[in-house]
């Protein structure tokens, strides 16, 4: 017995003293290898009497297990120490700038139109579109512009030279011709918004020869001015993110609506800075009204049966108001600094579920 105790003491001492993996392996071989001391004693078991063999065998097996456990414990200790030593030698300068990633952006006009589509979509509107080149009928006549109206002059409207058949086409001066196309092609009830490029002969601080409008059209047999007010009030409150934004409707005039109105929203101009909100001052935001009977008639709709409203506003203008963009002309300059500053991230998709756009990319 004492022989085994001595062996245990010596072997465990050798295992625990091993400072690296080869030393540990050496200790293992010396104890448990083919010619190892424990193995040697195991071999002697055959020479013993059955009773002796039973007792001695159990002791040897226990010793073997004890040594193996000690070896794996020592092995784990050595591995940990080795990894610690390796990690201690591995460093990198994580303050280095990352590899370049190019971020793109969406133009504020696109984002603004997407926001409007989200809001009006929730009110049951769909989106209609139409061509940039238009004819006199869709752009003027059907919209109740009288002959000789100033908007029909070369002074205001871009014309193309007459084609072979002598037809003279023009660049649409508003998105309203799409109202006409929609009413001629679809049966009421109609609820559409119409975003798009529009063109007028004007180029100064506050006008560009091309700009964007968004137009709305509702036609059925019941929609009245109270709905017009409700629809647009909800729109501006949602769009500008001011839940109780005050609105004001003033009688106005457009050839294609009767009655007509202009809509103002609350604002402040204190200190030369424009702020949207209930501050006592008013800002004109859009024109609207009930669709004029002559327009309905031009679209083969009986004004004694059908009625509805239309509204229109400048996309750049509301984008400027919402996002604090000071100069209209910069929208069309392709200045990368401007596009990145006022643009929107690709994944910033406006929706009423996840919210409309907040600030820009550079919050």
């Amino acid at each position: 017995m004492s022989e085994i105790d001595q062996l245990r003491g010596e072997v465990l001492a050798a295992v625990n003293a091993a400072t690296d993996v080869p030393a540990l392996e050496e200790a293992r071989v010396e104890a448990l290898g083919k010619k190892g001391r424990v193995t040697g004693l195991m071999k002697n078991l055959g020479t013993m009497s059955p009773d002796e063999r039973k007792v001695f065998g159990q002791l040897l097996n226990a010793l073997k297990t004890e040594i193996e456990t000690a070896i794996s414990a020592q092995r784990a200790k050595l591995d940990t120490a080795a990894l610690d030593a390796k990690l201690a030698s591995e460093t990198m300068d994580v303050t280095l700038p990352i590899r370049p990633e190019t971020k793109g952006s969406l133009h504020p006009i696109s984002q603004t139109i997407d926001e409007m589509a989200a809001i009006f979509g929730a009110m049951g509107f769909t989106i209609a579109e139409g061509p940039d080149v238009e004819d006199d009928f869709h752009n003027f006549t059907a919209l109740n512009f009288p002959p000789g109206h100033p908007a029909r002059e070369m002074h205001d409207t871009f014309f193309l030279p007459p084609d072979q058949e002598g037809n003279r086409y023009l660049l649409r001066t508003h998105t309203s011709p799409v109202q006409i196309r929609t009413m001629l092609n679809e049966k009421p009830p109609i609820r559409v918004i119409i975003p798009g490029r529009t063109y007028r002969c004007d180029y100064d601080m506050t006008h560009t020869p091309m700009f964007h409008q968004i137009e709305g059209l509702v036609i059925d047999t019941e929609t009245n001015m109270a709905h017009l007010k409700g629809c647009l009030q909800e729109f501006v409150r949602m769009f500008f993110g001011v839940d109780d934004l005050t609105v004001r409707f003033r009688p106005s005039f457009f050839p294609f609506t009767e009655p007509s109105a202009e809509m103002d929203i609350g604002c402040s101009r204190a200190g030369g800075e424009l702020k949207i909100g209930n501050y006592g001052d008013w800002l004109e935001i859009l024109g609207c009204g009930m669709v004029h009977p002559n327009v309905l008639k031009a679209c083969n709709l009986d004004p004694e049966v059908y009625q509805g409203f239309a509204f229109g506003m400048g996309v750049e203008r509301v984008a400027m108001l919402k996002y604090g963009i000071p100069d209209l002309r910069t929208f069309f300059e392709s200045d990368l600094r401007w596009l990145k500053h006022y643009g929107f991230a690709a994944l910033d998709v406006p929706s009423l579920t996840s919210g409309l756009s907040g600030g820009g990319l550079n919050r």
């Binding site: 700038p97 769909t126 009288p146 509702v218 003033r250 005039f253 009655p259 004004p303």
Partner: protein, 802 residues
Amino acid sequence: MKFTLSWLKDHLDTAASVDEISAKLTSIGLEVEAVDDPGKALGAFIVGHVLEAEKHPNADRLKLCKVSTGTETLQVVCGAPNARAGLKVVLARPGDVIPESGEKLKKGKIRDVESQGMMCSTRELKLGDDHDGIIELPGSAVVGAPVTSVLKIDPVIEINLTPNRVDALGVRGVARDLAAAGLGTLKPFNDAPVKGTFPASRKIAMRLPAEQTHKCPQFAGRTVKGVKNGPSPAWLQDRLKAIGLRPVSALVDITQYLNIDLGRPLHAFDDAKLKGDVGPRLATQGETVAALNGKTYTLDADMVVIADDAAAVGIGGIMGGEPTSVGDSTTTIFIESALFDPANIAATGRKLEINSDARYCFERGVDPASAVPGVEIATRMVLELCGGEASELVVGGAQPPAFKPVAFDPNRVAKLGGVTVADAEIKSILERLGFKVVTGSPWQVTPPSWRGDVTVWQDLVEEVLRIHGYDNIKAVPMPRPVMQKPALNAKQRLVGIVRRTLAARGLNETVTWSFLSKDHAALFADGAVVVPLANPISADLDVLRPSAIPNLISGAGRNAARGLHDSNLFEIGPRFEGFKPGEQTLLAAGVRSGHTSPRHWADMRRPVDALDAKADALGVLEAAGVSASGIQTGAGAKDGAPGWLHPGRSGVLKQGNQVLAWFGEVHPRVLLALDVKGPLVAFEVALDRIPEAKKKGNGTARPLLKASPYQPVERDFAFVLNANVSAEAVLKAVRNAERDLITNIGLFDVYEGPNVGAGKKSIAITVTLQSKDATLTDEQIEAVAKKIVAAVEKATGGVLRG
């Protein structure tokens, strides 16, 4: 139009303040643009009483005054020559803001003597130009009272008149609208005939051709003899000056005044300078008129002139002639009041570029019943201000017939307006506005002569609503669909996804003009028609764009000029292909210039190349749902790449025979012409050509995923080929060599150089093989490899590299 408060009150009996009046004007559709109320700035100023005025001890021209405020006595140093004891003055005290300077008055020392206030001149209060002395208030003014209660302060109101509101062209029309809206009572007005004591000096000659009499249907006039012209009275001059007009002489000022007062243009000729009968006729082509503004105008035969027997003496409805105008020596006048066709006046005014008050009124439509009353009112005013004796009235033509009644169902107010107004109130509003209402079923409502804009029942609804108040229409939310349907159709959704995909790929969206210069367009027309504008805004924006790329290249050029050499821009917008509506194609277009990334410590950067543009175009197609496996790449001009791309470094992406996109390096000659430095690559995807997704029988379900559980193996092959063999040809041959077992093909090396010989190149590919049924055996793999080598050799002549 502009008018003053006192002017308005000539016609409207009201106790309302300026603020109440302007709020009401805006609410009834006469939008107030500005109110200039000098009284607002004078609230703190009080009536002072000069008790003493001695010479300043240290200055000869200054006076030292003791001025009572009613509660205390202030010492005021004053330089005005009229400062004297006993005078009632406008006194500003420290803290008051002087309107002229905009600065707060402070106590100060003037030549060592303290001054505790200031006595003000007209100019200092911005009430006029007078600065010769301080304002002398009437002796009855109460000391200490606010000066606004003593001074005649007349706020100026400016309204923005919509083109339909012909009734409000004059101050009286504005007053009538306010009275109808309940803000006072319209005062009576004398337009009764003036009895003539002698026949007029001339007859009216209506010389328009029969088919054009609408251009001037009525022309009235009369002679007034023995008038004395000279400056008009102060009240009249003040009113004209207040609204920015220049007083000329009593006779001229009367016509200026009545134009604003009634919206009724009038003209006074010097009767002595007219020859024979007077009246409207068409101008002869090239006829000239020397107008009152000192300019001579050349007319055409569509225009109407006022002419006597000898010559044209005025441009009808727009401006009188200089030679027959009234002057100081005028003693007999002929007053003209006529009606003109709005469209013809507008056209004439535009052609001649004359903006006169008369044109402003006539092109909108003057009250057709106002020609004769206009003469009467003018006559009465001339007699009053200039004396003289009036002739009998002479009239040519006739007043147009009264407007027809409009059939009106009062229930329409609620149906269209969304607000219930009692029938009695509807009737009352219309009558207050001058309409004649005959109730019945339906009502018959006849517009007054000044409301030519009201022709349909919807106009009557607007009249009722605007007077009842738009504010009284309660906003009602739009009835909502129970569950919202998508607002976008498939195409619109596709465009949105493409837009955000390109932004996610690192491109910045921009918006550029639909036009450009014809020189730039010519570079990109590629043989197609370029659509010019008949009236471009400038020479560099004179045609519609045949491509979105030139404007993007110019944008990249402008960025480079600012030091940003790596541009990555895209735009989604139309290109124009013809003159007719719809002859346009929606493009997703983009450019990349310079390098793919900035200089950086870890990565070698590289210049952009055609494959960057190809990647963008493929990204667009993939985002648009076009399966990559269905897209073939065509190379260069021979496969249809546009001529503005580099002929050897460009391509097209096709689905079958349909070209969906083109990409490549922009032709160096094009860049040179646009003055932009390369490298610059571009792509355009014709979004309109992308086929709509086919509706499948199983709807939204995708084909079942058949993922093999067996081990995939990779085999690499390198082929030596002629240098002009395309990678696509090799890949296609491999793809077609074995359709079942090949799951992926990668191209990982392209080599040209001495190891393969001149005119040759090596292409290395890796092929992944996997069976759905079992693990592949070596024999199977070997068989596929043989097929691949044979197929490539057959298709391209390439041999396996040894």
